[in-house]
Each structure stands twice: as structure tokens, then as C-alpha cells.
Subunit: 416 residues, 2 copies
């Protein structure tokens, strides 16, 4: 079963917004065994939409479309649907009632003419209820292809996917099994990794595919198996993961795609009943933000002091002025005092600190752009390490965040 995902919107084609809907939809379809054959972004243009529909018609089983359902003049998806399906818009009473309720509840005002028109849907469409917004989803079919239209607002699209689209797809279509397993590795580059596992890779059965997904400081190895017999797939994947694990040893940090480093760390801290605090200079709160992106992080995360200024490092975190004067504010010594300081203030078991130059300029420090010191303080002492993460700013920050979590993980594991 094959699908195409189409996102409609000029704002995507001029690069004003990044399309995150396609990725979410792809992931959801992949989980239920539907292969995404292509993702396509096109303009808010009737002819472009019709051409894309034509191209997909009878070539794939499923076309998922987001965008162009808003209340304003630049939103033309509904009208184009009518055109393609030789249909007309009719007022849907239950959609109209829902829109009226939403507007009255949230905006405390009567419904306007523009909002009323959101109750119009093509007469042949099955309406997919949108509890979180005013634009409903629509399900239509032409010959062998199902066309599903969803709003472009990510959380509304997600709501309709979960509550209506996926259940309906599962109940109405036969699908093969797809199994992915990902191994998260740290500290070894892509090409060295490839050499290490070359023999193993050459012996993979042909229904298993291997992909390398490199990120700053981490490489994920993804195995994908596709077929009709779930048991055979699972067995083959598990066998190959086991033999790969033996080859890779301790550079493995986790085994699942949801097992990001912050997730793995959360599990480690929760299991051990330990807590964490951070003191961040050049990462500007990003370590805290990554850690608190995990639901349940309040169990082990005490908090962070973002000390962007030298005076805050001294007055709030407790770094000695003399240390800064002697070693520079970007130094191992200051990183250590930051980690120990925040650990003491928050009464945490572990603390991470980062001080460095993310760029684009070096400000008043003596270190070049990209130089970062990370310190980790734990029950048995504090360590600090120097890095040069190069440029640009975003890469320096991301690598510092990843590296600091990796260092903390090592320290916790060494404690046993």
C-alpha cells in the first residue's frame, strides 16, 4: 500500500515556514505499514493542485493533503476538491454547529460570515471531525485512490490523524508489516562506523535495509524490515540487532528511535532516584529545554540557572571573581565552579554546566568561536572537558547540548 503526502502553501515554497506535517504523517503511516512513496509541496494554486492529484490518481492508494483549509481568500483546497471530484460545496450542519460553539466559547463573540463558510464541505466528502479547530478534515475517493484533506495547523492535523484517519485506514485496508529498529551510537563517526560493521552489513538478508543517520556527535543506525510474516521479520531484526550490539559494544546509547539521549538519561535518573540541575551560559537554556521536553522530567530535573552574564555567574551561581580573572570566563575552572555552584544551590545529585563562545563573534573572551567547556558534577566529584565545536552558532549549541548529556550519561553509568 503506497501513499503520497502533499502539503499545500506558498509559505512553504518560499521557505517562510518549515513543513513539519509531512514528517508526522509519514511516521504515523509507516507505523501501520503504509509506505510513503513521495512527499510533495506545491503552491496555493488550483492548477498545481489538480496536476498533483492527476499524477497520484491510480498510481498510489492514498493521498494525504494538508493546508489550504483556512477561512481566508488564499485557502482554495475545498474549492479545488469540488473541481477535481466534480462536486459542490454544501452547508454541513454539524460542522457549522461546532464552528459556532468554538467561536462563541473561545472568542466570546457571535460567528461571522467568514466563519460560517467553514461549515461548507463538498457533498461527496466524509467529514472528519476537528475538535481543536474550525476547519474539518475530508475523506473522498476517486477510483482506486483515497484523497484525505486535513488542516495545516499541526496540532489540528494531528488530532484528526489520531482520532479519525488512522483508525479508518486500519479498519478499511490490508497492510504489510514494517519493523524499524534504531541503534543510537555516540562518539564514532559515520565512516569509521561503516568500516567496523562492514562484514555484518554484507550479511544482512535482502528484506532488511540499513541506513546511517548522522547528527553532530551521534550516528543512528536504522534497520528496516518489510514483509507479510511479522514473526519472521521480528526474529531476523532481533538476531541482527544482537550481533550488531556485540560488534559496537559501549558506543551504543540506546535502542529505539524514541530513545533519544534525553530520554535515556531520564530513565537512568528515574531508576536511580537521582536529580539533575544545569548552569548554562552559551547554550542559553537549551539543555533545560531539551530535558524538560520529556514528559515526567519534573521527577528528576530540579532546574537551571541560565547565566548569560559574567556578573550572574558570580552573584547567582557562585563562581569566584578571581577564577574568572585568572582563567577567563571560558575555561575549565569556571565550568567546574558553575557545575558545583548550581548543584549546591538546587541541592541536586548531578549538575551540568556549559561555558563557551557560540559565536558569531568572540565577545570579550580570549577564546575563539566554537570553544566550549563542559563540566559535570556528581556525588564523587567534578570533571571538565574542552571542545572545539567549530561553527556556526546553531551547530555549536547543539553539539554542546548533546555532548553534555553524553558526558553525564557516562558519569552515571560509571557509578553503576
Amino acid at each position: 500500500m503506497k501513499a503520497v503526502i502533499i502539503t499545500i502553501g506558498d509559505e512553504i515554497l518560499i521557505g517562510q515556514i518549515t513543513d513539519t506535517n509531512s514528517g508526522y504523517i509519514a511516521k504515523s503511516l509507516d507505523k501501520i505499514g503504509i509506505e510513503v512513496f513521495e512527499m510533495l509541496s506545491i503552491a496555493d494554486d488550483k492548477q498545481a493542485i489538480l496536476n498533483a492529484f492527476d499524477r497520484c490518481q491510480n498510481q498510489v492508494d492514498l493521498v494525504l493533503i494538508t493546508g489550504g483549509l483556512g477561512p481566508t481568500k488564499d485557502d482554495i483546497t475545498k474549492k479545488t476538491f469540488c473541481n477535481y471530484f466534480d462536486d459542490e460545496l454544501v452547508m454541513n450542519k454539524s460542522v457549522l454547529a461546532h464552528v459556532t460553539k468554538l467561536i462563541e466559547q473561545h472568542y466570546k463573540r457571535p460567528i461571522s460570515q467568514i466563519n460560517k463558510e467553514q461549515g461548507l464541505v463538498p457533498s461527496k466528502a466524509t467529514v472528519l471531525h476537528n475538535d481543536l479547530g474550525t476547519a474539518p478534515g475530508m475523506w473522498m475517493q476517486k477510483e482506486n485512490t483515497v484523497f484525505i484533506s486535513l488542516p495545516g495547523v499541526p496540532y489540528e492535523m494531528k488530532y484528526i490523524m489520531e482520532s479519525a484517519v488512522l483508525p479508518k485506514l486500519i479498519s478499511e485496508f490490508d497492510r504489510p508489516f514494517i519493523i524499524h529498529k534504531t541503534i543510537l551510537t555516540y562518539g564514532v563517526g559515520e565512516s569509521l562506523l561503516a568500516e567496523k560493521i562492514e562484514n555484518w552489513e554484507n550479511n544482512l538478508p535482502n528484506f532488511i535495509k540499513l541506513a546511517y543517520l548522522p547528527n553532530p556527535g551521534r550516528v543512528r543506525l536504522r534497520l528496516s524490515a518489510r514483509g507479510k510474516n511479522k514473526m519472521i521479520l521480528e526474529e531476523a531484526i532481533n538476531d541482527n540487532i544482537a550481533s550488531l550490539s556485540e560488534i559496537l559494544g559501549d558506543i551504543i546509547a540506546g535502542y529505539d528511535d524514541t530513545e533519544t539521549l534525553e530520554f535515556v538519561l531520564g530513565k537512568l535518573l528515574t531508576e536511580r532516584g537521582k536529580t539533575l540541575a544545569t548552569a548554562e551560559s552559551c547554550t542559553g537554556g537549551k539543555i533545560a529545554q531539551v530535558i524538560t521536553s520529556i514528559p515526567g522530567s519534573s521527577k528528576y530535573f530540579d532546574g537551571s540557572i541560565v547565566c548569560y552574564q559574567e556578573k550572574i555567574k558570580v552573584a547567582v551561581v557562585g563562581v569566584q571573581k578571581a577564577t574568572i580573572e585568572k582563567h577567563s570566563v571560558v575555561s575549565a575552572e569556571v565550568a567546574k565552579e558553575m557545575a558545583i555552584g548550581v548543584q549546591k544551590i538546587m541541592k541536586s545529585d548531578y549538575a551540568i554546566s556549559v561555558t563557551g563562545n557560540a559565536g558569531p563573534t568572540t565577545d570579550k573572551t580570549d577564546k575563539e568561536v566554537g570553544v566550549v567547556f563542559i563540566a559535570i558534577s556528581g556525588p564523587e566529584g567534578v570533571i571538565a572537558q574542552e571542545f572545539n565545536f567549530g561553527q556556526p552558532r546553531e551547530k555549536v549549541i547543539d553539539r554542546a547540548v548533546n555532548k553534555s548529556l553524553e558526558m553525564l550519561r557516562s558519569m552515571i553509568l560509571k557509578k553503576g
Copy 2:
């Protein structure tokens, strides 16, 4: 002049990574007057790549491809290029020398066979130097269409775009003018906004297009003009922006796409020589992270205390235990004490604080998921406001971040 952007990679089609390259490339091309006609994501599959190339051939002037250039077996773009252009791979000495240097400098080891092969490029390709990585870019032409292949690693792709692709496109092609202007509005929803400006919208000349770009709590209005005469375009855009500004009045927060709220705030604080600190509970450091994403923010941002735990709110930020007991930790009173507390600790002119339930569960508080209190403390006192940002977690956090910046902006502007 029309372009198609193609991203190659199974990891995109199964939703494992979000493609941010296409957006960046689109923005860069748009700036120099090249229209992106379509974005396409396809699998690491020879036939899929060849089909996409065939479809673009002589239909558009330019095809920009990212991905599939790594050193491992799943990277097949170079071989497929040879296939499509009836070419063969030859060792490029300067690429090989660069790869050797990079590996020796960064990894302190001799170059491996796998790395050596990165020096191979199709004989007909113009090599685009990649200073930041081992995979070079390639520029090839077939009849009326130029094909450019770039590595998938975002900062490497960006480097080659800036240093080689854009300059070469500008020097070798005639291009029309495209002008975009964006007005950033706050606090009025998309459909009310549409009603407010309906007459104005109906009177737009046909070479100017209007788009509504809604986000939680903010709507951007984008005007795009396209044509041959830059002066006429600029005059028409400026006239229409002026008349629109009159209609919208004080719900306008900025006039350019780069003028995000955090950027506008940075300008305001810098101009006035004022400083800012934040105390964050449910936003987990995201306000600090958004503020410090602006280069130069160290001038006005003192720092943040992320106080994820009740005990940290009391011990570090200085919230009274009695206040929490009397009013709940999610309350206007606690938000106010957090703002005043961090303002005092960091000796800042302004402070933002947030306390709320981002979900998915209410933890131990008495307020429902989505309830957030934001306080702003300034030279003339402190205010707090209650919101219900609904669900899910990511939306609650984003709306709280936006709303807090908006409230601070209002307070600063009222001071004059």
C-alpha cells in the same frame, strides 16, 4: 526561472527526520528571484531518483538535490548521477586532498578506503568545494536544466549554497524581481483579521498576492510582488503596506519576516539600555532559549532561573512557602513572586515569569492542563495574567512563550 528542490533519503519518508534543507534552499532562491515550483522528497532508490530527474528535465531550469552523498553504502546519489548523465566516477585530486586533510586534522587518523572514495566525482561535474565536510557539491547540466547535488548535512549544504551555488546562479542567469513584505500582528485571530481588511484586500493589484500565516497567538500577513520593474513593485508594496498599517493600528508588532517578537524585543531593550531576566517553570527554559537565539542578546539578557520544582521556587527564586500553600503553585501570586524574585536576584530592569500546567497530566496542582499564569515585573511594578492555552503540551509551551514576550513588549511600550 523555475526550480524544483529534491531531498533524497528514506529517513525523511518514514518521518524519522524533518527536512529543513528544502526550506532553507527555497528561501535562498526566492531572495534572488528564482521561483520554487515544487519540493519533492523521495527514497534512496535509483529508480525513484531517475524518475524524478526525468520529470524535471526541460520542465524547470534548475533542480537542487540534497542527500545521499555520504560515505556509506546507502548513499547512491553520485552513482545515479553517472547513470543519468551517462558519465563515470573519476578521482578528483583536490577533493581527495581536502578529505585527507579534514580526516587527519579532526580525527587524528590516516584516511580510510571509504573516505578515499569521497574523492570520486562524475567526470562531467563542476565540483563545488565543501569546506566543512568530506562530500563535495556537484553542478551538472543536461539540455535546458541544471542539476545541483549538495550534501544533506544542513550546515555543509548551507556553506556550499552561500559560497558557490548562489554566486554562480546570480552570475549565469537572468532573473525577475520578487519582493515580500510581512506584517506581524498579535492578539487578533485570522478570520476577524480577514474581515477587518476585506476591502483593502479586494483592491490589491493583481501582481501582489496576500497570504495569512497563522501561529498560536500571532498572524503574519505576507505581501508578495513579482515582476520585471523593481521600482514599480517596491512602490506598490510600500503603498499597500502603508494603507494596511493604518487599518491595523497597534496590533502590528513588526514589519519584516526577520522581525520576530524576540528580535523586536531585543531592539526595544537595546535602544532603552534595559535588561531582562526570566523565571520559568512549565516553559522549562524555552523563553531563555528563544531570547538567546538572537545574536547580541548578551547585551540585554541577564539570564534565567528554570525552577521546575516547588522547592527551587522557594529556595532559589525566593517565592514564599505560604504563598504556594495559600494560592497553589500555579497562581497569579506565585507568578508575581517569581518575577519579582528573579528581577532582584539578577538585578534586571524587567523580568518575565511563567508557572502553569503544560500537561499531559496535572501533576499535583489544582489547576487543569493548559492553565498558565504569566507575570511581568518592570520598574513600575508587577502584573500577572491567567490564560488557558488548551492542549497539547507543545502548544501550551509555545503560546506561553509568545504571550509572555508580547506582554513584556506592551509594558515596555507603555513606559515610552
